[in-house]
Symmetry: C2
Subunit: 307 residues, 2 copies
Amino acid sequence: MSKEQRAAVDALLRAAPFDGSRTPEELRAAFVALMADNPAPTGVTLTEDSLGGRPALRIEPQDGVTGGTILYFHGGSGVFGSPATAQHITGALVRRTGARAVSLDYRLAPEHPFPAAIEDALAAYRELLEQGVPAGQIVLAGDSAGGGLSVVTTLAARDAGLPLPAAVVAFSPGLDATRSGESMTTKHGIDPLFTRRSLEQVGAHYLAGQDPRQPLLSPAVLADLTGFPPLLLQAGTNELLLDDSTRLATRAAAAGVDVILDVTADVPHVFQSFTGSLDEADAALDRAGRFILDRLATVAAQAPTGF
Amino acid sequence: MSKEQRAAVDALLRAAPFDGSRTPEELRAAFVALMADNPAPTGVTLTEDSLGGRPALRIEPQDGVTGGTILYFHGGSGVFGSPATAQHITGALVRRTGARAVSLDYRLAPEHPFPAAIEDALAAYRELLEQGVPAGQIVLAGDSAGGGLSVVTTLAARDAGLPLPAAVVAFSPGLDATRSGESMTTKHGIDPLFTRRSLEQVGAHYLAGQDPRQPLLSPAVLADLTGFPPLLLQAGTNELLLDDSTRLATRAAAAGVDVILDVTADVPHVFQSFTGSLDEADAALDRAGRFILDRLATVAAQAPTGF
């Protein structure tokens, strides 16, 4: 089945590749239309909420939260997307873990360029801590730009002296605004969705003329990952952004961090989005769910007990 | 618990670091003594066997094989070690998967330098196929030099036109006889077991003056991994050989291969050997077991059905 499924996914994306020259309004409308066929899975409830001064979508197991909070960041190059456009992936993690997710509607560029999204994400994490959620029961997760946001928000939290989350999970994260990965070249044409030009065009909204050579814009090439919590990076081999993940994994390992780099062959950017129609998507989400449960259990086992 | 466990493992290894200047006979005796406290787990049976013209140790679940064959290669720099010295790790995989393992007593250097071990490993794999074991129900696995052997035997099998195994699992594999990884320098002193000098001293027996710049000696820097089966690489952040794994993972991803790089923080070379006394060892073996079961199930699901 899966070879045919992968071919179908590839054809679907090639039929309507990403066009970074469109206006932000056009990109937002197109992404809503593209994701309209991806509802949250059955068995979860969706509730409008707010966190850190921003709207948020709470996604919870219908039969009760068994533990843990996933602070989720949707994809969309920092320019488009919303908690609704990521609800199928976020819901898939909730179904697999029994955790509740809070998916943040962080501010978007060009109206709010770097570092507005990171400020919102850090404020949301801070509010979770202030609500009394133990850091060790929080997982930061996201896809694409939101995967990058899960990584750099953790760096910002560390640098702010906050307790760190139990784990970070990033699906096809964007981690290099300098676009210096080898896969930017070697996967040209293999990536059915992106070109260097389209990524640079849309990336310019978030960058807004700022120097990309900053750890919070290009962590895969510049971040000091010392003290980072356990990290899961998932990517497909058919993506320009593949080396954002391979390089961050290598940096994490060099810095003495627990890291799993989980690469699936012959699938595109954020292939997890095809949950339900692509076996590799569901298998990857299964592994992500197990990683989250493993890390929440490990932190819980290490926490001081008693009064 | 685990922080204390990791400190204990580190102290244990620092008290008796690896000395590559000892003779092969001394190294063999010392390794047997070191591993004498590591019996196979309960619940498995050990049977002397042979495969591909070499002795082998068959390790099976006491209550019956549920599926799959793990062809295992022990560690020991290609100079020392045997199926007996790896029986605790091999047995741990058997317990977690229900598969049978056949652990090969391949020829050792200096009596039999490169490529004798690969010839033996390939002959063993060939005999499994000739016995009628489907390639898709075989997993090649190993630790240290044996992890490297699992990788290069798969390359040799591919180049010989043989059907490829369902998966390859390598624990802290040695994958670079050129010793060019950054971790060879950055992890100096952090690695409690090895120095560059000790690795070069013992490595010289297997190399026997041959050019290390060959794919079957240095796959992490030279191998074309096109068509490689799904690969799991596990390593610790406290090892000189860390970048053998990070670089092979990056090469595998670039070649379009399914690959999981699974790095555990603050543990040494082949930390899985401390199964039973180090939580990270058992957790890593759990993940390896799940990977093997996932891959065997995926291949089985894709196999043609019917008569």
